[in-house]
Symmetry: C3
Amino acid sequence: MSVELDLVPAGLARVLEELPLVDHHVHGACAHDLSRTAFEEMITESDRPVPDWMTQFDSQLGFAILRHCAPVLGLEPFCAPEEYLARRARLGVDEVNRLLLGASGVGHFLVETGYRGEELLGPSGMAEVTGVPADEVVRLESVAEQVAAAGCGAGSFAARFAEALWERTRTARGLKTVAAYRCGLDFDPAPPAPAEVTEAAGRWLAGGGGRLTDPVLVRHLLWAGLERGLPLQFHIGFGDPDVDLRRADPLLLRGLIERAAPTGVPLLLLHCYPYQRQAGFLAQAYPNVFFDVGLAINHTGARSTAVVAESLEVAPFAKLLYSSDAWGPAELHHLGALLWRRAMARVLGTFVAEGEWSPAQAERVAVMVGAENARRIYKLGAGR
Amino acid sequence: MSVELDLVPAGLARVLEELPLVDHHVHGACAHDLSRTAFEEMITESDRPVPDWMTQFDSQLGFAILRHCAPVLGLEPFCAPEEYLARRARLGVDEVNRLLLGASGVGHFLVETGYRGEELLGPSGMAEVTGVPADEVVRLESVAEQVAAAGCGAGSFAARFAEALWERTRTARGLKTVAAYRCGLDFDPAPPAPAEVTEAAGRWLAGGGGRLTDPVLVRHLLWAGLERGLPLQFHIGFGDPDVDLRRADPLLLRGLIERAAPTGVPLLLLHCYPYQRQAGFLAQAYPNVFFDVGLAINHTGARSTAVVAESLEVAPFAKLLYSSDAWGPAELHHLGALLWRRAMARVLGTFVAEGEWSPAQAERVAVMVGAENARRIYKLGAGR
Amino acid sequence: MSVELDLVPAGLARVLEELPLVDHHVHGACAHDLSRTAFEEMITESDRPVPDWMTQFDSQLGFAILRHCAPVLGLEPFCAPEEYLARRARLGVDEVNRLLLGASGVGHFLVETGYRGEELLGPSGMAEVTGVPADEVVRLESVAEQVAAAGCGAGSFAARFAEALWERTRTARGLKTVAAYRCGLDFDPAPPAPAEVTEAAGRWLAGGGGRLTDPVLVRHLLWAGLERGLPLQFHIGFGDPDVDLRRADPLLLRGLIERAAPTGVPLLLLHCYPYQRQAGFLAQAYPNVFFDVGLAINHTGARSTAVVAESLEVAPFAKLLYSSDAWGPAELHHLGALLWRRAMARVLGTFVAEGEWSPAQAERVAVMVGAENARRIYKLGAGR
């Protein structure tokens, strides 16, 4: 279900082309040059070495890089991977970042800093390269792990975490949880009792802290995050092999969504593939639920049109956002925005071509999903 | 995957346009005028107040109303919601119902009366407004709740329910269960023993009756329904937040489907979104299983083509039906029929355009799904 | 989402038309003539009698037979089922097989012999009729059941099975497990201890052997298969009513996939419908996972384009294969290949038409999925 881009109504095409997107969940661009091996490992969610009988360039994401990023670096579309990587190396990471991030047309980045952030540009680095605002989204689990690493007793963990969270989020726009990776989303939705938290913290700290996976602690972080009151992002669905995809189904959050409603905190379901329809149902049913299909847009490449289309089914249009979930190579930041614009143009253009939507409706929904909804939820102001 | 409507073979377009549908699962149209708030709350499955930063008109269903119902009320397509609601109020509910229901081209309504039926037109009211037959589908749980409300001891519950069910269904065409809402579909498929029923009834009645959620009683109702022998409809999948969508997966009914086969009772899986492919599998595997994608057609609007297409995969064409599941505003009755006709025209038209189906096959399948299958299952006679 | 076949780039169309496919999971063609009843029962996965109020010809698969197989037998497309079956009977099974298998353009068959193989052509029969190589894939559960049937004590079962497996697979190219049918995929992924195997074998053999469903024994077979070292095929998803589709979700194999990685054995997920996106995720995440959408292609007919499209999302292109899973009527072998070629032409042709892929990329991916990946995995040599 799609139309050729040259059949998209001109007004809609222009709106989508020029819209300064809010990328409401993204990581920093890579700050150093990359070998072919390193680059290939960053364009897959797999954390295993790439087998020698294949290349990650033979994927939707790989093809999208050769199609859309090559011209930004001054090459022909569909060049060979070798040619692409040679050009990339010759330009150097700073120029690559400048070109690809600059051409993405993103108007505001919300940068999640909790995953190997030291290898990447931080929010200020992103703002410097792109010339647009970049604010921080803080990962709850990382704050807790830093509290443990700094040394902390079980009995003081909850208080220390609360202090650290407040300190780390003074200027942050949102919080993020990777509960899906750490214990699965099928946890007890109730906040744990203080004594349970102390006991679980004792077990964890006695083991030296490190990766926090105890469901009691994960729940404590979530509820502390809800109390902090910033919009709360959830990793959902598609990700690296660390995730048990069955336990990353957004429907598992039903109990938490209902219990969290009185806090008034917006809950943002990220990625969601292949559960985008389930996420859409939750976004219709519950006023406090929002979602995106970030990450999946990059990884499905030429098929991202289908994923975006499925996200535009039962959710009210005020409940859908844009993100790239890019991490590392600036190709991912660039493609997230470019593929989303193309997919929206095709999907909304089809609705118009079929006579189901007016061009004005399509333009308005494009702006809501691409920027306005995020500006309202994260209180970003009117934008440029 | 769709073709423009003007590319649909003329014969198929005409067949679909003129087909008197059997809407095999629908509720009554609203019998009173509606405020904007009330109207918006009836065009979503959410039971929460609509937040002040959004409107339900900004949804696929909202857009479909402005596109397709506005002209029926004498307005331009894509008018503003305010204009639409003002016109609606000026016409008054009787005229709105007459116009929208009349233009739906439905030939026979099977009206489920068990959910807030007192606010809506009943079967006779629907027949009167539309001039076509309207028969009743009786909700099992409502009959049981009425038995409790009328006063009943635990030991006599089963007998009283059996009597009441017989009484209430003398002229009914089918039964309906909302087990998915009440206890989830992951219940024990075996009929409960009489002593278990008495015990469960005792607990329920001691609590004053009311909303029936005990799985033992739900199972008893189901098996009593199977014994009654009318076609039995199941709420599946998409619905209001009362449903845990994970526990509304039709695959959970496998055990019951197998056990119920000897009764010869047709089991009709309603709505099914986003599990339409799972429903299709059950409809291929089991002769006693049928399904539709009602409700989802309205709520996915311009995307209903995709949902209808997914329902036409592995199920034999004798196993698929049409329903709107409309409840309340006559817009829902109207759109259910209109969007189904358009979706079928596009999906079957694509099969023909691609050379995979003949026009005659497409026309025949349209008639089977839109009317004939329901006429056979519910023994409705040949229709007009 | 598809283009007319006459809009597919000519080079891609020719590559797909002429590609000698590797059908990496197929059963033999039926070696005897078939009554209408028998034929209809073989074109559905249902194992129930076809009700007298319907015909299996009224399905996507039935329509595809009348559309695409009729011309191969010298009839007009879209002829009546009666005409088709009369022609089929007049030609006789040998000629039908010769015509349909010959026109499929398959270059190499990997024939799974474990399900009612005695009614079908074996690998040598398939090779004889088609003039191309046909190798065997051995079903683990069948080997075990033969060991039991030949008489075996509990204590010697493991050793006898190992011997028999080695003997039966001297020239085999792969192994197959139907764990999904026998105990569901939610089994403990660890290899069972020898004492557990002996105990479970004792229970099974005391009951006379027969259909092997004990999860301990199924796990033992799997691990013995991994030790044997041939590529290992898993039934996943769609199949006959014997399967609980919820317990045939490929995500349930996560634990086994991770534990089996060190063996280096390729794990091939077959069919996968409606879990093709879940399979794609596993194929991206884990180097040892491969998959296909066989069986579903035949059963979704005109809709197979959508299923193939969904299989081309997040999996690297080196991880996807072609199979028909045909069993019995040679129509299934023929259609599997024909519908796959058409679906790939439409899906990849759309990527090219939309400017997202180059024609050369599309041609290369077609060859990888249709033949090269299987040749590499099963070590089949370069092909013709």
